[in-house]
Symmetry: D2
Subunit: 302 residues, 4 copies
Amino acid sequence: MSYNWSWHIEWQTPYEFHAHGITNVFFDKQTDFQRIMLANLHRFGKTLIIDGKIQSSVEDEYIYHESLVHPLLLSLNEPKEVLILGGGEGATLREVLKHRYVRKAVMVDIDSTVIDVARNYMKEWHAGAFEDPRTELVIGDGYDYVKKSSEVFDAVVLDLTDPMRESTSYKLYTKEFYEILSSKVRDGGGIVTQATSPSFSLEVFSVINNTCRVVFGNSHPYITYIPAFDGLWGFVASIKGGGSIIKSEKVDEEVKERIVGELKHYDGPTHASMFNIPKGLRRILNFEKKVSTESNPVVVPA
Amino acid sequence: MSYNWSWHIEWQTPYEFHAHGITNVFFDKQTDFQRIMLANLHRFGKTLIIDGKIQSSVEDEYIYHESLVHPLLLSLNEPKEVLILGGGEGATLREVLKHRYVRKAVMVDIDSTVIDVARNYMKEWHAGAFEDPRTELVIGDGYDYVKKSSEVFDAVVLDLTDPMRESTSYKLYTKEFYEILSSKVRDGGGIVTQATSPSFSLEVFSVINNTCRVVFGNSHPYITYIPAFDGLWGFVASIKGGGSIIKSEKVDEEVKERIVGELKHYDGPTHASMFNIPKGLRRILNFEKKVSTESNPVVVPA
Amino acid sequence: MSYNWSWHIEWQTPYEFHAHGITNVFFDKQTDFQRIMLANLHRFGKTLIIDGKIQSSVEDEYIYHESLVHPLLLSLNEPKEVLILGGGEGATLREVLKHRYVRKAVMVDIDSTVIDVARNYMKEWHAGAFEDPRTELVIGDGYDYVKKSSEVFDAVVLDLTDPMRESTSYKLYTKEFYEILSSKVRDGGGIVTQATSPSFSLEVFSVINNTCRVVFGNSHPYITYIPAFDGLWGFVASIKGGGSIIKSEKVDEEVKERIVGELKHYDGPTHASMFNIPKGLRRILNFEKKVSTESNPVVVPA
Amino acid sequence: MSYNWSWHIEWQTPYEFHAHGITNVFFDKQTDFQRIMLANLHRFGKTLIIDGKIQSSVEDEYIYHESLVHPLLLSLNEPKEVLILGGGEGATLREVLKHRYVRKAVMVDIDSTVIDVARNYMKEWHAGAFEDPRTELVIGDGYDYVKKSSEVFDAVVLDLTDPMRESTSYKLYTKEFYEILSSKVRDGGGIVTQATSPSFSLEVFSVINNTCRVVFGNSHPYITYIPAFDGLWGFVASIKGGGSIIKSEKVDEEVKERIVGELKHYDGPTHASMFNIPKGLRRILNFEKKVSTESNPVVVPA
C-alpha cells in the first residue's frame, strides 16, 4: 500500500511537529558531538539532518547559503579575508569563494565526521570548495579558535547549529562571544549570523538581533522563507563602525561585478523581500530589550 | 505525562504533514458540504478547520485577511460595492468594511453551518460585521450566484477553500469562471483571489496567476508567510482595464486616509515584502503557460 | 483527499505511540480531575478517552469488562455484595449485575462528569445499570470511601485508571491500600484489579501482582488481548483465605448457572487462554520481588 | 531536546498506525523485490523492516520463530526433511535445526540481499544455521521451487511476507498453491504457515485458516502476542492425513526429548495459551466460508 513508513519528524515545540517521508538513509551515525544522518527526503532529495534538525537539502540549500553570505559581503568594501564558523557542508564556503575579492577563507567546524560526510556524499554542496587554494580548513571548536586566534578578518560568517542548552552552541550567540569576535574584525568589516526561525523561535531571533545591536552598535535583521526549514528563517548582519547595508536597487549591479557564477535566490527584488520585514515582526524586533549572555542565554524551544 | 495526544494533522502531500496539538475541541460536525471543526490549538488558540485544512486561527487570521483585502482595495479608485465569495468566518467582510468608501458588501457562502459557528463561537473574527447595515449575506453557491446575478461590483474578493477535485471549489479558479466574473466587475474595478500556497502547491499558485493574467490581461501575484498555514501563502489581484497596484511608498498614507481602524499586518514595508517575490519563484511565475479550465483544472496535491 | 487528519495519539513511551483516526468528537472537556473526550474512532467507533488514554470502545469494551469481572465472581461462593471503585462507564457495574447472587453493587467514582457523559452518550456501556435497584452510586474518592466505610463486601472490583504519579490513582495499587481493602472483604471473598498492560508496562503488572500476593497471600494474574488498548491487558485476582480460581473445564457450566444474559468474550477456552501465561512473562511474574508502596509506588512509563 | 525524531511508522490501515523511535539505521536499500531496512528501534533493538513492515526484532524474534516451528514439528512423527519458504533472517531455519530428527532443511528465499544482511548484521538470528551441514539454501521464487521440485518433505514451514496485491506473495496463501504443496508432503507430514494478524487483518487470518482446512481436510489455527508486531499473530498448521496436534500436557516432555537447546517462549502453558482461542475470534474462524484463490485472493488492508 501507498502510505509512507520511514519518517523524519522535526519537533518545533512539544505541541507541533513537521514530518517528512524518507525514501532512503545513506548515512546515520552518532559522533562525539551529534547524531548525523544523511537521508533522501521524498520532497527535498538528499538532506543533512543533525540531531533531528534539517541542516540543508540539495534542492533548496542555495536559498539559505546565498542569503547568509551575500547581503553582508556585498555591503562591505572589498572583503578579502573571511572567517566561517560551522558550515560543515561546505556550501557557505562555496558562496564566500564566489566573491572576487576574497583571498582567504578560514572555515572552522567542530565535527570532522560532518566534513567527511560532505566530502563523500555531498558534492552538490561544496562543489570542490574544500580544494580551493584560498580555503583553510580547521577542525576544532569555533569559540576556542576565535578566542586564541591573532588573525583579523574582513567578514565573519556564523553558520552554526541553533543555540541549545544541551550543546555548547548557545555560547556562540552571546554578548560575551560577540565582544571577542568584534576584536577580530577590521573596522568597516562585518559579521553575519544565522539567527534561527522567526516562525518557531521568534524570541530567539529577536534577542540575537538585539544582542548584535548592543555589541556592534547596529544590526540588520532579515528573513527569507526556506522550504526545508518549513518556515521563515532569520539572519542578522552587523557592520563594525556602522556602515550601511546595500540598497535593493544596487544589488543586481554589484552581483554582476563582484560575484563569479550564477545566483539562484539572491538578487534585487529578493533583497527587498528579505529586508522589508512585516509590521508585526518588525515591532517585536524594535522593542526587544533582552540580551543573550553566557549566564542567561537564549535557546530554541525544542 | 507530558506528551500531547490530541492532534490535528495537516497533510501537504502523502510524504509530508504538519501536526498541531489540540487542547480542546469546541465543535465538530459533518455537514452536507464538509467536516467543520473548531478547536483550540496549543500554538494558535481557537482555530477553524474545514476538511482537515486550517482555515484561520484567532492569533494570526489578521495576516491572511488583511493581505487578501487591502492591496486590491487600496489600488482601486473609491470602491463602493464589493462582492465576497466564501469567507464564512466574517473576517474578510470585516476588513472590507473598514474601507470608508465601501457602501455595500455582498457575501456569499455555501454552508450555513460555517456562518452559525462563526456567529456563535468566533466573535474575534467577524467583530459584528454580519450586523453591519452595509452587509448583505447570501447562503448559496458562489458560482451560481455570480452566474445569475445582474449586479456589477467594484471589487470581488474570492476567499474560497483550495481547489480540490472532490469538492466543486476548483471551478472557481478556472478561466470559464473568471470570464463570467469579469462581466460583473466595473471597468477600473478588480478582483483578488487567495491562490493556495507557493510552499506546498506552487504549480497551483502559478497557474491561478497565469489564468488571471490571461483572462484579465494583467495579474499581480503576491505572497506572505502565515504561521497557521505553515508556509507562504499566495494571492493574485487583477485590475479590469489594467490599472496598477499601489506602490509601497504610498501605502501608509492611503491606509491612513481610507481605512477606519488599526491594521496589524499591512503597511508599506509589508507591502514591499509581499510584492517583491524571490528570484526562484518569480521565474516560475513568469514562465507559466498553463491555464486552469473546467475540463483541465489545477487542484492541490493533498 | 483521503488522508486522515484528526487523530488520537496514544504514547506508550517517549519512543512509541499508536495513532487512531477520529471521525468525530462528541464531547471534550477538562474537569477538575482530567480531560474527558468522547470521540468516534474510525476503527473502534464511540470511544472514551481520559487524559489521552483510551478507556474503552463500544466495539470491544466487553472484552475488558467481562475479563475483569467474571473470573473472580465465578470463583467465589455466592457473592452478594460487591464494591466497584472507578468504572465510570457503568459497564463493570453491568457485568457485576449479571450475576444472579449479587444483591448490592456499590460503585464509587471520583468524577461526576464521567458519569454524566456515560448517562448521556454511552448507553451501550451501562445498559441501564445505573437504574438497577441493586446499584448504589457514590461520587467520591475511592481511597477515602474504603478507608471510612464500615461495610464489608464479598468482592471488590478495582476498575481504575493506570497508576500515574501526577494523579492520585497510584495510591490504589499499593500495599497500604490493599491492606485497608483486605479488612473490608469477607473471608472467602476476593478482589480483582486491572493491572495495566504486560505489553507496555510489564514491570507495573508484575509488581501489582506481587503486591497482591504479599498482602493477600495469593494472587492469580491473567491476561487477554484488547484491540482498543493495542496490546495485552493484565488483571490480578486474589482470594481472601486462599480459595482457588475456577478451572477452565467448569467455566461454561457456571456461566450458564450463575449469569443472566449472554457473554461475548468469556467462556472455558477463553479462560484457559487468559490464565495460561506464556513462558517469558510467567518467569518475570514468578521472580518479582518488588512491592508497590505509597512511598515507592509503581507508575506507568507514559 | 528529548523528543524523538527518527521514526518507523507502521500503518495498519489508513486510519491507524504505530510508530517506533529509531536510534540508528544500519542498512537501507531498495532491491529488485523490496526496500530492506535494518534499524535499531529504541524499544526492540536491532530490527529488520521490509517494505515498512517489521519482520522481526532481536529482542522478541524468538516468540515468532518458536511459535511458527515447534507446534507442528512436535506433532509429527520423526520429521526428517523440512522445507522452509521465506525466512531470510535464518531464525526459522535455526529453530528447525534444533529438532534432533531433522536431517535436511531446504530454505528458499527470493531476495539474496536479505540473506546478505542476515549474514553480515544478524548473527543473533541465524546463529550459524546457514553453515549447518543439514542446510541447503536456495535463492529463488518459492512458488516456482515447489512447482518444479520432485522432492517430498515431512514438513513445510511457510515464513513469508504478508499477502499483498502489489507483491506476488499473495499467491503462496491460495488454494492452488496449497494443492501443489500438498503433493510434496508425505502422508503424516504437515505444513504450517504464518497467517497475518488477527488484530489487524482478521479476515485474512480466518480465510487462510479456512483455505488450509479445505485443501488439507484439517486446520489448527493458533495465536500468540508478539510485541514487535504490536498485536496478536496468527498461524495455521495442517497435517496431511489428519493426525492431531500435540496436547499441552505432552509438550514439555516432547520438548525435552526432541529439541536440542533452550526454548524461551514455547512450553506446555504457552501451547495452551496459543491453541485456546477466545470466544469471539473462535466464532469467526468457525463460520468462515471464504477460500483464497489466485483469482480472488485475500490480501492485508495496508
